[in-house]
């Protein structure tokens, strides 16, 4: 081919690409899925408000839309992401700084299609890939409840995102790749309870926002699996929730329900980001809804356990485990026991606890370093606290005791190095 011919081909190719990109953008901008779904009639306004409040709890709006010590739902919480910091907006009904001018249609558009009031693409830190499954009636109820709250005048702070992530219009392409709007469809082969659980877990609960891995552009899988993953920036590992995956087989529907309702169970306690989810959201849900969520989770296909990390030489790993035994006996055995079984619901077991043996050992390391309390809930108002050992143990000692608990009593978690501990010592923890 002559040089001129090649140039023609390249120009043609470029034109096709530009046109295709323009077409994708145009499609994302002009397409308004869900706009044909209008508000169902509301018979009892008070009942709708109560329902809206309950559903807002299920969606945990308060957690993200409230700054520490700030006015409830007035926004301002900084959410670190790999692309910069998202500052959550004010969703109280203030007309100028909140969503006081939003109609139920505007709210539905945001929930269902991830678009702001002026049509702008919303960043998916707002979990509309999940909320898109919420029904119009439920979206309306949440909107009605939010609109009934006192307005708080608090200006939204701008996001601090790096280029090119600060270019909102690029989200058109993100959406084309990773977002599929669609209301939850009942699976008629399964009963109402399973369907209710699926609706809550996949929709408002947005469990896979943490309990699944994200790709390099921050997207979770379109199929919404709960295969577990490291939560970006927060550096906690959210374990897989699928059915009877290793470590989950001992969790029956009753213990899962209890865990979500109270923050503790005989198989493990909520801590880290999950403690907040339990305290702000799950404990407020009805036993029936929590049981439905548990039934749905137990029905999911089990995930094959990830292989234990092998980055340490066997001799080094064995040495750490051996060194960790006496540290366990000195500091841990009084509460967690020589068999690692813990004590009832107050002190979680370490033996067979899937949060101890996660593929990445962050949870175990951080609990040893920083300690922490299970959340205070109506069902467990005086939770037990795990002491922090970071101030008293060296990186190597923490690595040794974590390696020990990940290898003892039949656990198969793999040893951890002092470097991993050093990295987690300095991560932000509030």
């Amino acid at each position: 081919m002559s040089l001129r011919g090649l140039r023609h081909v390249l120009l043609g190719l470029l034109t096709v690409i530009v046109l295709a990109l323009a077409a994708v953008f145009y499609w994302q901008w002009s397409n308004e899925p869900g706009s044909g779904i209008s508000s169902p009639p509301v018979a009892d306004r008070q009942a709708q408000l109560r329902r809206g409040e309950y559903l807002a709890r299920a969606g945990n709006c308060v957690s993200c839309h409230t700054a520490r010590g700030g006015a409830t739902l007035a926004g301002g919480r900084q959410m670190p992401t790999p692309f910069g910091t998202i500052v959550t907006p004010n969703i109280t009904p203030d007309r100028d700084t909140g969503i006081g001018q939003w109609s139920a249609d505007d709210f539905w558009r945001a929930m269902h299609n991830g678009r702001g009031r002026k049509g702008e693409f919303l960043y998916p830190a707002f979990p509309y890939p999940n909320y898109t499954r919420v029904t119009r009636a439920d979206s309306d109820a949440i909107h009605a409840w939010l609109a009934s709250l006192p307005a708080v005048r608090q200006q939204n702070a701008p996001h601090q995102l790096r280029f090119p992530y600060d270019q909102r219009w690029l989200l058109g392409y993100w959406r084309a790749l990773y977002f599929r709007p669609g209301v939850w469809q009942e699976d008629t082969r399964l009963d109402a309870q399973w369907n209710r659980g699926a609706y809550l877990v996949q929709g408002l609960g947005h469990c896979n926002a943490c309990h699944a891995s994200r790709n390099f552009l921050g997207a979770t899988s379109l199929t919404g699996e709960l295969t577990g993953g490291l939560i970006p920036m927060l550096n906690w590992y959210a374990p897989a929730l699928g059915g009877n995956a290793e470590g989950l087989e001992r969790w029956d529907v009753a213990s899962l329900t209890r865990f979500m309702k109270t923050g503790v169970s005989e198989h493990g306690a909520a801590y880290g980001p999950m403690a907040e989810v339990v305290r702000q959201s799950l404990q407020h849900l009805s036993e029936d809804d929590l049981r439905a969520m548990a039934i749905y989770m137990k029905s999911l296909p089990a995930v094959a356990p990830a292989p234990a990390p092998t980055h340490l030489k066997p001799a080094v790993a064995d040495g750490l485990v051996k060194q960790g035994g006496p540290i366990y006996e000195k500091h841990c055995i009084d509460c967690h026991g020589k068999d690692g079984r813990g004590q009832g619901r107050d002190i979680p077991p370490l033996q067979g606890n899937q949060s101890v043996t996660t593929p990445v050992a962050n949870n175990a390391i951080r609990m040893v370093l920083h300690g922490g309390f299970a959340p205070a809930t109506a069902g467990n108002p005086r939770p037990m606290g795990m002491p922090p050992y970071g101030p008293f143990l060296s990186d190597e000692e923490v690595a040794a005791v974590v390696s020990y608990i990940r290898a003892a009593w039949g656990n198969r978690g793999g040893a951890v190095s002092a470097d991993e501990v050093a990295r987690l010592r300095s991560v932000p923890i509030d």
Binding site: H370, A376, P381, M386, P388, P391, D430
Partner: protein
Amino acid sequence: MNRRVGAKSLGWSLVLILCGSVLAFQSHSAQAVNQGLEKRVAACVACHKLEDQATRDGVFPRIAGKPAGYLYKQLLNFRDGRRHYPPMTWMVSQLSDDYLREIADHFASVKAPYPAPPPATLPAATLERGKALALQGDAARKLPACAACHGERLTGVQPFIPSLVGLPRDYLNAQFGAWRNGARHADAPDCMADVAQRISDEDLLAVTGWLAAQTVPAQAAPQAGIKLPLPLACGSVPGSAK
């Protein structure tokens, strides 16, 4: 008649026995609850050792025997972001007001001996200056005496003003730094933030050095009350404003 008296006394005895057993049950369960709490808050004692003056870093303040209202407010301040020390915020983030109050009451009631202070390393003149600031203040520099608010013996005042003795020097210095750079807040008007802005570095090091070198009396406890108004208006002490 006799029978009636007998029935009456039998009735009273029954009432007494019932009352007695209710009381016995109550005190027993209160004890059980309290014992439970000690274990529940073992996480706090890991750093805030009850008897040691400080852990190896000398940054963890003593909490045993501090006024309950002060401890409760600090727990809320950490939880709600008015006081900034991430490891503390982390601990109390998901705890309720009720539970934090119970924890504060618990540590306020703990009586633990104070160990001897570490030997003072500052020059005698500096310590003298520190003592004068603590007990008399410096009117020329608009610095009230510590003792004017924190009690004659600097052991605090019920229920909101903390003791200043028995604390590590590094901790005291760090608090002034935190007030100056906005990492520590109290209810407005924040009187200690004012003092922190006003005091010179030299005076600050003198007064914290002297405070940290004091031997705390064996039966030290927060004073029951203090003369109001205080030299400065403090949002966390009702009635402190002139």
